[in-house]
């Protein structure tokens, strides 16, 4: 069994690791122990600011600070970043294209026991609709680390979607390369392609193994950058496999599935099945149980891949 680390933990560690750059400033909204920005605070207290439980103000304050040459990481739960502070992100950060990186942790159902009010399942949809915004949803700790590094180097706003739950480390750091907007083919296959993001990438890898046992060869693609989306890797997968499954811990409306559907329908339409939250609110419970209840497991991806293959053969 691979090591398990939450992407929020990797985020906090990455901020501490790359934090020697004096342009970097970290803001939090009274959640620094949970978002793990506290890891940065311990090392660079003079560049850490707690902005209190006031997310809207935090985002616009981050914009003002970024206008003075800082690279500001503003962190809170995804719900309160993309939800509560949407308009500050849109008008004060994205419109002037300021260097604010939004570290949005506790995204998706895997928040667990806190329940629906804290489980953002709309944030990808909201954030990717804003011009100038880059949306990144890392799959594991290694990808998170390099996503943070890329966000620091990128000129302009970035939304980093991170999770609370410990998830398997799927990448080997020595050979890993992160490039904004470039998906990663994790495993070749030609019957169907599973395009996943966030914690669903490791579920997709499990699904691939299960499908293999039934003689189905599935390609697995990690789309860590949802915007700008890697259209080339998606169209290539559509051409070469003819059946696509998307998998995300997000509403099927507006997230990765929608982004992939947009690329396919404009370029190379093939059957598509979307694994994700089926347009309903989450609830309290243990993360693993919730992922099962809401159809976000490897078994669900297997089922959807078979459905996509059937659509392909029915054409």
């Amino acid at each position: 069994m691979a090591d398990k680390i939450a992407t929020r933990e990797a985020y906090g560690n990455a901020l501490a690791e790359f934090g020697s750059d004096s342009r970097i400033v970290v803001f939090d909204a009274d959640l620094s122990k949970s978002t793990k920005t506290d890891n940065f605070r311990k090392k660079y207290p003079e560049r850490f600011f707690n902005m209190g439980i006031a997310e809207g103000n935090m985002m616009a304050t981050a914009a003002g600070m970024a206008s003075c040459g800082k690279v500001v990481f503003a962190s809170t739960f995804a719900m309160f970043a993309a939800g509560r502070a949407f308009e500050q992100i849109r008008n004060s950060i994205c419109y002037p294209k300021l260097n604010v990186k939004i570290g949005a942790t506790h995204a998706g159902l895997s928040v667990g026991e806190d329940g629906a009010s804290h489980q953002a399942i709309e944030d990808i949809a909201i954030m990717r609709a804003i011009p100038n915004m880059t949306v990144i949803s890392p799959a594991d700790a290694v990808e998170t680390k390099y996503a943070v590094k890329a966000a620091i180097e990128h000129e302009g706003p970035v939304y980093l979607r991170l999770g609370r739950l410990n998830v398997p480390v799927i990448y080997d750091e020595s050979s890993y390369k992160f490039e904004i907007g470039k998906g990663i083919v994790l495993s070749e296959g030609n019957d169907a392609a599973i395009i996943a993001t966030g914690l669903m990438v490791s579920a997709a890898l499990e699904a691939k193994e299960l499908l293999q046992q039934e003689g189905i060869s599935a390609r697995v693609i990690d789309i860590h950058t949802i915007k700008p989306i890697d259209a080339d890797i998606i169209v290539k997968a559509a051409r070469e496999t003819g059946a696509i499954v998307t998998a995300e811990e997000h509403n099927i409306i507006g997230g990765l599935g929608s982004a992939v559907a947009e690329v396919l329908s404009e370029n190379y339409p093939v059957p598509l099945v979307r694994v994700g939250v089926q347009d309903k609110f989450g609830k309290s419970g243990k993360p693993d149980i919730l992922l099962q209840m809401y159809g976000l497991t490897a078994a669900d991806i297997v089922k959807s891949t078979k459905a996509a293959l059937k659509k392909k053969s029915d054409r």
Binding site: G52, G64, S67, C68, V72, K97
Partner: protein, 281 residues
């Protein structure tokens, strides 16, 4: 720069008012009422107080100004153009599709604009962030922000006020353009933010009051704000919405509507008369 005489500043203020009328008239839209009420404040800031460089609008040690009541671009653009950030002729392109002079200020398009604003409540937060950056970098630049009194109804303003006091941002001075009117009428009828001075004090700010159309008093308030250590200062400027144009004064209806040709000509005649009097004296 040698500080201009009070009378020069008064003349600038009239010129700014004339530009405001022309901008809004040529655009056939825009916000004259609140622009006319903050004219002296902006004139004093840009012509007597702020350290800016028109040749280098993004100079990192400059003082910064955030128009939190972002709809008052006619006043801001007029002052920036008079100051020399961009040609005065461009003012007549205000709000037009082929112009860079957006209806609400954009820091990406307009030289001299330090923050994109327009959605009320956000500008003061951005100003807080700038002041925090100044403290962090141990720079001596100062941050100014201008809020509308209707804007105080936005909860974010109070989040920003709380943060500014918490971080002891004495390099930040906010002006309140206290003209008492908003789109739907008197602020006290729509949703009263009063008593504003008590609220600001309770939020930990140094509170000053001034006549927002008296240039000497505005200058004096800014001097006091600069001398005050340990707290941010808010200057409550008592103003008249539509100031300087008889038929616009104290009329909420002129918040966001443009004069017709006849009204424009009347406004110009009134302002030209004031300017002529200032020239003679």
């Amino acid at each position: 720069m040698k500080k201009p005489e009070i009378k020069d500043l008064q003349k600038y203020a009239v010129k700014v008012r004339k530009h405001i009328i022309d901008e809004v008239y040529s655009a056939a839209s825009g916000h004259p009422g609140g622009s006319l009420s903050c004219t002296e404040i902006l004139t004093v800031l840009y012509f007597a107080e702020m350290r800016v460089n028109t040749k280098q609008p993004l100079w990192e040690d400059r003082d910064r100004f955030v128009l939190s009541k972002g709809h008052c671009t006619p006043a801001l653009y007029a002052v920036l153009a008079e100051k020399g950030f961009f040609p005065k002729e461009d003012l007549l392109t205000f709000r037009k599709a082929d112009s860079y002079l957006e209806g609400h200020p954009s820091m990406r398009y307009v030289p001299g604009v330090d923050m994109s604003t327009g959605s009320l409540g956000q500008g003061i937060s951005a100003a807080v962030g700038m002041a925090m950056a100044g403290k962090l970098d141990k720079k001596d630049y100062r941050i100014y922000a201008l809020l509308g009194d209707g804007e105080l109804q936005e909860g974010e303003v109070w989040e920003a006020f709380m943060a500014a006091a918490h971080y002891k941002l004495d390099n930040l001075t906010a002006f309140l353009d206290h003209n008492g009117l908003q789109i739907d009428g008197r602020i006290t009828d729509v949703m009263s933010p009063e008593p504003v001075a008590d609220k600001f004090k309770a939020f930990g700010w140094n509170v000053l009051k001034t006549d927002g159309h008296d240039i000497e008093k505005i200058l004096d308030s800014i001097r006091q704000a600069k001398d005050y250590k340990g707290k941010p200062t808010v200057i409550i400027a008592e103003t008249v919405k539509g100031k300087g144009v008889s038929y616009m004064e104290n009329q909420a209806g002129w918040h966001g509507s443009a004069p017709n040709k006849e009204q424009r000509d009347q406004a110009m005649a009134e302002l030209d008369k004031v300017l002529a009097e200032l020239e003679v004296e």
